[in-house]
């Protein structure tokens, strides 16, 4: 049956071309089951109405200061992250696999980090070359032999997933240090409820609101022994950090103090915060500060963001840190290619979520392949993030490729290369109509008494047409991600044909 459309609604999807893996449209040019109600609703609303609601969303975010700081010419300009009002839907079967895959991966990552700093059996068994571990920028010698509370290292992780042309979810990156973005997950949801309340009636969307409750319990879980009512703080580098909004949001939602390094002081083995009534003890620190800046006595002496003596208190077991120190060794891009082996090694299981195929210049055959195919590969520096230090083959200049060729030959262990994957695309509201834009997904995983995966995550959108770069520092936007309950998935019986004007 052909759905009927007003002229205006036909305009919404006019010229929409289905390429790569499209999240809303199936290969046979039909709307995927779970997207059908959304598709209809959007068509009924029409472009003008979506535009109006989109503006309301932007204004809300601007007024609430839901911003990030862009570094550059000025000392930093606050911007709102572009918000796309078209939600991304994930069916419950799809999510089930993601959920299991992430739990498996995080469990393995933790066992791996513990092993690296203690027995090192994975090195002794020659699964991973030792020099890769010791050469990783996130490796901390200070952690060798250091026991951390409950043996949990990565309490909060944000693991980036993408979908390839066949629709398979692949892990692109493990973020095990201080992954950010969860505040946008929660805020995007609030804003969506404000602008599209009726859509929620049509779908059975799993809530994300309890994230901060669970985060707080995860943090309390690592309080020093014998501490009944631990005092928890969120440690931020300060107001000029690009993720400051998030730090403040999380502290507010958990009802704990947001502190800067200068608010804390070390005294006789313990950490205290400076209050109007004198020094008060701190038991757990959710730090949103990189290892290097935590303690000027232990690491970078020029850091004014940290707390002198913090490492001493941590070593003595007098303060819990989330994430633990030294977790960067696990999300190093040089280690990433070994993650499937890591999972098999510690858990004896087949990885549920696969890696993106990755070439390592250290292996001669790989190196040859990389150097011969620079035009079609993405080359990444193993110790960079945020979309920096990358070569995107297909859109690179000859000079850039030559530069990377030299870099790879000079220092093969500092790079990896992956085929350019056409990330899946999702209808995105651009200039009054919907157009396909590449997306990825960063779900958040909490590790406390058990492992919890927040049903949803941050969907990042590469807004410039054709772009594959979704980082907010590179012009990416975000959209709300809805994980559906079973019942809603089957509310519509079958896929239906799309508007005739689209093809």
């Amino acid at each position: 049956m052909q759905p009927t459309h007003s002229e205006e609604s036909a305009a919404l999807f006019s010229g929409y071309d289905v390429a790569a893996y499209d999240e809303m449209f199936g290969t046979e040019n039909s709307v995927r089951n779970h997207y059908a109600p959304l598709y209809d609703r959007l068509n009924n609303l029409g472009p003008a109405e979506i535009e109006r609601r989109h503006k309301v969303a932007d204004l809300t975010m601007r007024n609430q200061g839901i911003t990030f700081t862009v570094y550059g010419r000025d000392q930093g300009v606050e911007r709102i992250i572009p918000f796309d009002p078209i939600p991304r839907l994930i069916s419950s079967q799809e999510w089930d696999r993601i959920d299991r895959g992430l739990k498996q991966r995080v469990r393995a990552l933790n066992l791996f980090i513990r092993d690296v700093y203690h027995n090192r059996s994975i090195l002794k068994d020659r699964i991973i070359p030792a020099e890769l571990i010791f050469g990783a920028s996130g490796y901390r010698r200070d952690c060798v032999g250091l026991r951390v509370p409950k043996d949990i290292y990565v309490h909060v992780s944000g693991i980036d997933l993408i979908r390839d042309a066949s629709g398979e979810y692949l892990v692109l990156e493990d973020n095990c240090r201080t992954p950010s973005g969860v505040s946008y997950v929660l805020k995007n949801r609030q804003v969506m409820k404000q602008i599209f309340p009726f859509l929620f009636e049509e779908y059975n969307v799993r809530p994300v609101d309890d994230y901060t409750d669970i985060l707080l319990s995860v943090l309390r879980n690592i309080a020093p022994d014998g501490c009944d009512d631990p005092s928890v703080v969120v440690l931020t580098p300060g107001m000029y950090n690009s993720a400051y909004y998030e730090h403040s949001f999380l502290a507010r939602q958990m009802g704990v103090d947001l502190v800067e390094g200068r608010d804390l002081v070390y005294d006789r083995g313990q950490i205290f915060r400076r209050t109007t009534r004198g020094l008060q003890r701190v038991d757990v620190i959710y730090r949103r500060l990189d290892d290097d800046f935590l303690d000027p006595l232990a690491f970078r002496p020029d850091s004014i963001l940290g707390v002198a003596g913090l490492m001493g208190a941590y070593r003595a077991g007098n303060v819990g840190l989330a994430n633990s120190l030294g977790t960067g060794v696990a999300d190093d891009k040089g280690i990433y290619p070994f993650l499937p082996d890591v999972i098999k090694y510690y858990l004896g299981e087949v990885p549920i979520l696969n890696n993106v195929e990755t070439f390592r210049p250290l292996i001669p055959s790989h190196r040859q392949h990389i150097l011969q195919n620079l035009e079609s590969l993405v080359v990444k520096a193993v110790d960079a993030s945020g979309g920096y230090g990358m070569l995107i083959g297909p859109s690179s200049t000859k000079a850039q490729r030559e530069e990377f060729r030299r870099k790879i030959e000079d220092n093969p262990r500092a790079y990896i290369a992956q085929p350019t994957i056409q990330l899946s695309r999702h209808p995105t509201f651009v200039e009054g109509r919907l157009d396909g834009r590449h997306v990825d997904l960063r779900p958040f995983v909490l590790y406390g008494e058990e492992i919890f995966v927040l049903p949803g995550g941050l969907t990042r959108v590469a807004l410039p047409k054709g772009s594959l770069v979704v980082n907010s520092s590179q012009g990416g936007g975000t959209k709300d991600t809805w994980v559906l309950h079973d019942s809603a998935d089957h509310r519509r019986a079958s896929g239906r044909p799309t508007a005739g004007g689209r093809a």
Binding site: R62, N63, Q64, G65, M239, Y244, S248, F249, A251, R252, G255, V256, D257, L258, V259, E260, R262, D263, R273, R274, T275, T276, R277, G278, L279
Partner: protein, 317 residues
């Protein structure tokens, strides 16, 4: 509460109060200038007096010639290089609010942020050109809305009391400055001179403190020196009087330091307590005997000492 947060809250309270006062001052000044050419023979126009009140006369770029009314208004409203402009103060209030979002909550923070974004944007500029008075009223109302949210959404804990402390201390300070600059014939002894010019001045003084209506209702007397000063300095019920502000400061300080009835928790509390009881038993005739100017000077010195002591006791831990 974290010392840093307490300090930010205190200053946020001060900046918002100051911005609100400047907006009111400029609005009334403008109103007067548009209204009458009486009484403007004493050199400074009512708008220009604001430069004196805010101690930023030296910062005003005089080289461009004698300040036009519009230039002064602009300088005091939008000039980012002038630390006393409304925009500068709201910007600082906003920085403080941004650093204390987890304490003040989304509503208060959003409103401060919204006011800041508005003032920095083109809409405020347009309004300034078209109808400046409505812009000043907008600012004043927005500041009052922020205060309304503070009064009605925050529990009476340290967060609230540090905001209150800043607000009321600033209120006293600004009123002292306004009185110093605006009391007609302050340097000469005030006698029963009763020209229409004086009436305009006293009335505008009351208006710059939103006190005209309340004064008329409470005093049921003519608008002249003694009554006006008594009302603005010593009235116990008018929320913008000095006595009222001192009482609120004292209350908030007691709440912060734990409120031991028999003793004072810090030096600031002692100074304030003394000031408050002074104001309670003072007679307006005594103020004039001492000299209004001297009286206002000593009041301001007390305010500054209180601020320094608060700094020492709570923020520099």
């Amino acid at each position: 509460m974290l010392s840093r947060v307490a300090e930010s809250l205190y200053w946020m309270g001060r900046y918002i109060e100051r911005a609100e006062n400047v907006a009111r001052l400029l609005d009334i000044g403008l109103f007067m200038e548009l209204d009458a050419d009486v009484g403007l023979d004493e050199g400074l126009g009512p708008v220009e007096i604001a430069l004196t009140i805010l101690a930023c006369r030296d910062a005003f770029p005089m080289e461009v010639g004698p300040p036009s009314r519009e230039a002064v208004l602009r300088f005091l409203t939008f000039d980012r290089s002038n630390s006393q402009s409304i925009l500068s103060m709201i910007a600082r209030a906003r920085e403080n609010a941004r650093g204390t979002q987890e304490a003040i909550g989304v509503d208060v923070w959003s409103e401060v942020n919204r006011l800041y974004l508005f003032l920095g944007g083109t809409r405020a500029q347009k309004r300034f050109v078209r109808e400046p008075s409505s812009l000043f009223n907008y600012i004043k109302n927005s500041c009052l809305l922020i205060d309304g949210m503070i009064q009605n959404t925050l529990p009476r804990d340290e967060v609230f009391h540090f905001l209150e402390l800043g607000r009321h201390l600033e209120r006293i300070d600004v009123l002292c400055r306004i009185l110093r600059a605006k009391c007609p014939g302050l340097s000469k002894p005030i006698n029963g001179e009763d020209s229409p010019m004086h009436l305009v001045h006293w009335t505008s003084l009351l208006r710059s403190c939103s006190a005209h209506g309340p004064f008329l209702r409470s005093e049921r007397e003519r608008v002249e020196a003694e009554g006006v000063i008594r009302f603005l300095v010593l009235d116990s019920d008018f929320p913008r009087s000095i006595r009222y502000g001192a009482a609120r400061c004292h209350e908030s300080l007691e709440a912060i330091s734990g409120g031991d009835e028999e003793a004072y928790g810090c030096e600031a509390e002692r100074i304030l307590g003394r000031l408050e009881s002074d104001l309670r038993y003072l007679d307006v005739a005594e103020i004039f005997d001492r000299g209004l100017l001297q009286f206002l000077d000593s009041l301001q010195i007390s305010c500054h000492r209180v601020s320094d002591e608060i700094q020492r006791s709570f923020f520099l831990m």
